[in-house]
């Protein structure tokens, strides 16, 4: 298999093809549509049956692929266009759908437009999400939810100097979920609980744009309302993980409604000129959230004592955030572009809460936490581009960023001594970042372009140990493009060293890729690509095993090879055939067992097993499309999905999917 991959990689560097259905690249019917009075109309429907059979781990299949059996409107399209641009109510209707009728990924988008008067755009999407989360919380954080998104935008007078915008977006996430709760103290047991997820967000937008003195002023005001009303209850009482624990949970309910509203303003002013361009933006959002939580649990502690615990909490969180940008570009000569960008961001999250806990009906001391997280960023960057000759250019840039983070995490326990440091005295941290960039591009020959650039950054105090500190990025790309032939090569390395006393973090990422496409005739085309994605990281970690501190190193190595190839053959006027293959494989660090050289009985074995995660994910596909008549095509396709981990077969699966459909165009 490896030889085959290498062969494919060298001959046809690779491509990721979409799922086998709906049928693409095999249209039918009149390409120009039909004229009906003053309109031209073309439409098509692809209706078919999708099948899926499965061997192996169904949960992993649902988490990664999720196609199921059933009749589907695999795709449809409608295009109505006025022929003179003077339709009575509209000049254009464009409607496209995909996967309707039960596919896990469904979408529809619609545009209706009347020249000079209005333009309406709608996008509706539904995404079924399933996650067994086997690597998280013993598989108990299962999710089987559906997210539905819709966006509506209406522009009035889209071609005039004064326009108006109206918009509405809705985002709903619903479905069952398994979560966990730990009771009744910090060393207590953990139990699975059931949650019926119900999140809903509505956004309303109102704005306008006007032109004056050559500038465009764009103003938008919007209101975002979010509601989370997810009730949680017990479904069973087994504890997780700690098999020797004696704790029990006999009843559990939790209600935690959370509502937030985030009205925001955006004001933008921009102009593009022959000698200069300016673009300023100001946005301000004042997000406010309020919540109540009531949790009641009863059971027994690990020492066998009966316990009933109630938690009552309520409070508010507020986050005003300001972001401003001013970009100015100068074009002092035809060969020179100078751009300066100034950015100022300020975000402050303030939270307060009242937390009361009752054990066996007796109140524990209420706690009044108050938190503050302030982030203020200032950044200024300047970039110079000089087109030395028609065939080569250089660019260089410098960015300075200054970030101040302030934190207050204060908690008052009634009757307890005041915590240190004194209340409302923030801890602050200042980071400065200096970044330099340098690059060039060459076009020594019209079909050939070569570009390369480098970026070096130095951060005085990264916020997390894995953040960029001393980093360097090198990129290069070569592209050769003739009319029907294209080949590209690219490389990118990204190194970061984040070392301080006692710990260190270093990451090295190296990506190499090649892509190729060739369409010698209308009867044959091929696309292919190959990527090698390497990542190795090294970080200092600290933890306790049986109360003994352990200083260790966290290693992670990933060596991913991804190859794709797809070829289309028009076997005859009526027969179209497509075949494709996708192969993604993480070879890991080359070890032959999950623990490497660490003994499987060592307490550190679990860390060794997390250092690399070799697996293979492949998907060949084929599709045949036969034109039955002037307006009808019959399509049949098959796609195989294979998932296999190197060290365990528990989550492996083999999915056979396919479809048969009729594509009708009229």
């Amino acid at each position: 298999m490896k030889t085959l991959i290498l062969l494919l990689g060298s001959v046809f560097p690779a491509i990721a093809q979409p799922p086998v259905a709906p049928t693409t690249n095999a249209p039918v019917g009149s390409p120009n549509g039909d004229n009906v009075e003053n309109y031209n109309i073309s439409q098509s429907f692809e209706l078919g049956y999708r099948f899926a059979t499965l061997g192996g781990d169904q949960d992993m299949y649902r988490a990664t692929i999720n196609y199921t059996d059933g009749v589907r409107l695999l795709s449809s399209s409608l295009f109505v266009q006025s022929r003179d641009g003077h339709g009575t109510w509209f000049d254009q209707i464009v409607l496209n759908t995909q996967g309707l009728g039960g596919d896990p990924y469904e979408s529809a988008n619609l545009r209706i437009e009347k020249n000079r008067w209005y333009r309406y755009e709608m996008l509706w999407r539904e995404n079924a999400f399933f996650d067994p989360a086997l690597a998280v919380a013993f598989g108990e954080h299962l999710e089987n939810t559906t997210r539905t998104l819709q966006d509506h935008d209406l522009t009035l007078f889209p071609q005039s100097r004064i326009k108006f915008f109206l918009g509405y977006s809705r985002n709903v996430d619903t479905g069952p979920q398994l979560s966990t709760v730990q009771l009744f103290d910090s060393t207590g047991n953990t139990y699975p609980v059931f949650a019926n997820v119900h999140d809903q967000q509505n956004e309303y937008r109102l704005g306008g744009e006007a032109m004056f003195l050559g500038f465009r002023l764009n103003v938008l005001h919007a209101w975002v309302d979010f509601k989370e009303d997810t009730p949680t209850g017990i479904i069973s009482t087994p504890e997780l993980g700690n098999t020797t624990g004696l704790g029990t949970l006999t009843s559990f309910t939790r209600a935690e409604p959370y509502h937030s509203t985030s009205p925001y303003w955006r004001v933008a002013l921009f102009r593009d000129n022959k000698l200069w361009a300016v673009n300023g933006r100001f946005t301000y959002v004042d997000a406010v959230g309020g919540y109540v939580q009531n949790e009641l649990a009863s059971g027994g502690t690990e020492f066998g004592n009966l316990v009933t615990q109630q938690v009552l909490a309520f409070g508010n969180a507020r986050r005003p955030a300001l972001a401003t940008n001013l970009n100015v570009s100068f074009f002092p000569a035809s060969k020179i572009t100078i751009t300066n960008q100034t950015t100022y961001n300020d975000s402050r999250t303030v939270g307060d809460a009242v937390y009361s806990q009752y054990l066996m009906g007796q109140p524990a001391m209420p706690i009044l936490p108050f938190t503050f997280l302030g982030i203020r960023d200032f950044a200024n960057s300047t970039n110079l581009e000089y087109r030395v000759r028609k065939w080569w250019a250089v660019h260089a840039g410098y960015q300075y960023s200054d970030r101040r983070i302030a934190v207050i995490d204060n908690q008052e326990n009634f009757g307890a001594p005041a915590p240190a440091p004194p209340a409302n005295q923030p801890f602050t941290q200042v980071n400065t970042l200096n970044v330099g960039t340098l690059g060039f591009r060459l076009r020594p020959w019209k079909p050939l372009s070569i570009l390369a650039d480098a970026e070096i950054g130095r951060n005085s105090q990264p916020y997390t140990p894995i953040s960029d500190r001393n980093y360097q990025v090198l990129r290069a790309r070569a592209d050769y493009h003739q009319k029907s032939f294209r080949v590209g090569l690219n490389a990118r390395t990204d190194y970061n060293t984040d070392s301080i006393t006692l710990t260190s973090f270093a990451s090295r990422s190296r990506n190499y890729g090649a892509d190729f496409s060739w369409t010698p005739s209308q009867r044959f085309s091929i696309d292919a690509s190959y990527s090698k994605l390497h990542l190795d990281t090294l970080g200092g970690i600290f933890f306790f095993i049986n109360q003994a501190p352990v200083n260790a190193t966290s290693l992670y190595v990933s060596n991913i090879h991804a190859a794709n190839v797809g070829a289309r053959f028009a076997l005859s006027k009526r027969l179209d055939f497509y075949a494709g293959y996708t192969h993604t494989q993480d070879l890991g660090d080359g070890r032959s067992n999950p623990f490497g050289t660490t003994p499987a009985t060592s307490p550190l074995a679990v860390f060794a097993a997390a250092q690399t995660f070799p697996l293979r994910f492949l998907s060949p596909q084929a599709r045949l499309s036969v034109q039955l008549g002037r307006q009808v095509r019959w399509n049949v396709g098959y796609q195989y999905y294979g998932y296999a981990e190197q060290f365990s077969s528990l989550q492996d699966f083999r999915g056979n999917t396919g479809y048969s459909s009729l594509l009708w165009s009229f």
């Binding site: 491509i15 979010f226 593009d272 440091p421 801890f427 933890f543």
Partner: protein, 306 residues
């Protein structure tokens, strides 16, 4: 005054001569019937339908320039603005003459695409677009994959945003015409990611439940962004995490060392490590989110327990 009058006459004569170089789209149709036959479906046809635009902003000549010399010479690329012959910056200038007047394209001149000579005609096909909208040269994501080979590889991984499946598009998160500096990661990288209008990362446009505000924010998320833990394109690991297990992902930051950011009394003395009551030999402590379930932010627990 005479000088002014003379200058006005010269300008008027020059304008008349210049206007006379425009022949109108109907003349173009004679030799380019295939283009004209479907041109009414092209968004640029609005300039013809309007009948109010000046010649330099109407139909074929609004992009290809005055056609008289081209007609007189019976064709030829040298006598007209042929985009296939234009340098990238000239092609960009030609399109921006009208299309700079949109906020979404206000950063185009400083975008990475422009800097790398990827201009309008690399992604848009004005006369032969197969895409239903925006005259794209190919439909997404194939259009983007043409150059972004590594993104293609990432979206072929087991866990990914459903871009190949068509329910998520590259432009949901990226603005190919250039974006403002990000409001996270010190306004440095990445450079083509479009923020939501309320300044957040684009991730929160769909994952609204992670947006907050929360009484207890997971500070690294707010300060450094979702990519601290997740790979937004695709990953070999569940939930598109950067590591195959949650434990190492958390411990690489929560090592309690150095002068990194933290919260509360541990601030500037390292991000808190798991205490001695977390016996990492016990499987229950090896899956941090079993207890710390509200890891994106919590209203009741500064340890994200509920």
């Amino acid at each position: 005054m005479k000088l002014v009058r003379a200058a006005a006459l010269i300008i008027a004569a020059w304008q008349a001569a210049f206007a006379a170089d425009y022949v109108g789209s109907a003349v173009c149709r004679a030799c380019h019937p295939d283009v004209w036959a479907t041109f009414y479906k092209n968004p640029h046809f609005k300039s013809v339908a309007s009948a109010k635009e000046p010649p330099e902003n109407t139909g074929c000549e609004s992009c290809h320039g005055p056609g008289k010399a081209h007609v007189d010479a019976h064709g030829g690329k040298a006598t007209i603005i042929a985009f296939s012959e234009l340098s990238p910056e000239k092609a960009l200038d030609a399109c921006l003459r009208c299309h700079s007047e949109t906020l979404a394209r206000a950063n185009i001149r400083r975008s990475t695409h422009t800097q790398e000579d990827v201009v309008c005609i690399n992604c848009h096909s004005i006369h032969h677009s197969p895409a239903p909208k925006y005259l794209l040269a190919k439909t997404q994501p194939e259009l983007c994959y043409g150059c972004h080979t590594s993104a293609r590889a990432l979206f072929s991984m087991p866990f990914k945003h459903r871009v190949n499946e068509g329910v998520v598009k590259c432009t949901d998160c990226h603005n190919p015409h250039g974006a403002f500096d990000p409001t996270w990661r010190m306004a440095s990288r990445p450079r083509m990611v479009d923020q939501r209008e309320a300044n957040d990362e684009p991730c929160l446009g769909c994952h609204a439940d992670k947006a907050g505000p929360f009484v207890f924010e997971h500070a690294s998320l707010r300060v450094e962004g979702c990519e601290t833990c997740h790979q937004p394109h695709g990953s070999m690991n569940p939930r598109m995490l950067k590591r195959p297990t949650v434990m190492t992902l958390c411990l690489e930051c929560h090592n309690g060392k150095g002068t990194f950011g933290g919260f509360g009394p541990t601030f500037k003395s390292g991000i808190a490590n798991p205490g001695s009551d977390h016996n990492l030999a016990n499987p229950i402590y090896q899956n941090c989110t079993t207890c710390h379930v509200r890891i994106h932010g919590s209203n009741t627990s500064d340890f994200f327990l509920r």
